[in-house]
Symmetry: C2
Subunit: 252 residues, 2 copies
């Protein structure tokens, strides 16, 4: 049996942000396990005879619990299949790629990992917001804004360094709390913030404001997932550096 | 005149990590301005009639000061050229992409930005080190380990959060200082650390150790640029998750 697993990052939305290596391994695959966030144009690049299996989450229910994905990877590889696990973004940055490989590694199945353009990198480029910049930020930090038990559980005191860009993945639901906590712990209330919805796709929308007013600005508006929140002085470059798409609601 | 500028990230080393969008814009370019870290295989994809101009740094001298690159972009675009500015990694993560676009933006020249796989993402995937992981790290931070006036100038106290992966770009020269300061400010001395040299290329080398002993481990060894340093409990996954290349010196 010569089954293998390819863990491939499909990028943040624009299908043209797939890498050549990602395509190469996708084309080798007999079986493709994919997420909700993988662009249909990328799935269409799989071999015609490949079996495509959806393992993503629907909005409020898990289609497959994490353990089952691990089991499936091992199951198909043991059948001798080349299995491509296609994930939105980058598999090793909030992609649970390490977790999904656990049983593959334990079973001694050969595997490869292909990085993808992570949402922070893609949204920054397409929104015209450099994540680092001589005059604004000497470092950048990716954090999950995901809520646990109804609140965002983060070490807030450690998150308020000036000259650092913060990027929150999965932060829309907790946006008001995130902004309030950052102010509470010392970040300036007028720190610019951008909410990027469906970044890098034709439907990209960038809404800017400040820590103080962004939550009010989006109150009652329909915001489509996936979203990303960028906090920091670099966001002030957006009005001049924006180049992609038209839907853009400013204010900063 | 319909000159344009394309700021394109060429990725971390492996030429197959170029994106389709990056290739598309490179193929449109009349003029290509490139860095030392762009793979020759990628440059070879430029149009045969394109003019290729090296604007990278040599080891100890600047081939072109930053301002000249800005001027060149404007200069060629004003001649009506499609100008591709090819940079290693991602242009908006320690790539000075924002700085280089300043005069292009000021001059009102149309431009686009294509993200690239940043070194942290590429090295993590090819070294088998997830940057985030349920059991190890809920966030990741990219920092420049670049020395100014002979020492690494960072807010060390803010850098010692447990459950966070730290990635130092350009940190080799300051490695001993970085490790010492992190311990001094409270990070455990046995925190695993990986030094990745020429990551994602066939010459990739991963040297692991701890904050306490990595500097000694590499003492007197020749380490080739570019390098990246990954600090955090996730590095402990490397011995099991490594899959690429053979040169690998462990110990963690």
């Amino acid at each position: 049996v010569d089954g293998e697993v390819y863990l491939v990052g499909a990028g943040p939305g624009d299908p043209d942000l797939l890498t050549f290596r990602g395509l190469h391994l996708l084309r080798k695959a007999d079986t493709v396990l994919y997420d909700r966030l993988v662009a249909p144009e990328i799935l269409a690049l799989a071999r015609e005879d490949a079996e495509l299996i959806y393992v993503g989450k629907a909005r409020d229910r898990h289609t497959l619990p994490q353990d089952n994905i691990n089991d499936l990877l091992v199951h198909y590889a043991r059948e001798g299949k080349k299995v491509c696990r296609l994930k939105g973004g980058d598999p090793f940055i909030f992609g649970r790629g390490g977790e999904e490989l656990e049983e593959v590694v334990a079973a001694g199945i050969p595997f490869q990992v292909v990085p993808g353009i992570t949402a922070a990198s893609g949204c920054a480029a397409y929104a015209g917001i450099p994540l680092t910049h001589r005059d604004h930020a000497q470092s950048v930090r990716f954090v999950t804004g995901h809520r646990k038990d109804g609140s965002v559980d983060l070490n807030w005191a450690g998150l308020v360094a000036e000259q650092e860009t913060l990027v929150f993945y999965m932060g829309l639901v907790g946006l008001r709390e995130i902004c309030a906590r950052l102010i509470e712990h010392g970040r300036a209330a007028d720190t610019p913030v951008a909410l990027v919805s469906r970044g890098t796709t034709d439907a990209q929308e960038v809404i800017t404001g400040t820590l103080d007013d962004l939550a009010d600005r989006i109150e009652g508006r329909e915001i489509h997932a996936p979203t990303l929140i960028i906090v920091g002085s670099v966001v002030s470059l957006h009005p001049r550096y924006r180049w992609f798409g038209a839907a853009d609601t400013g204010g900063a």
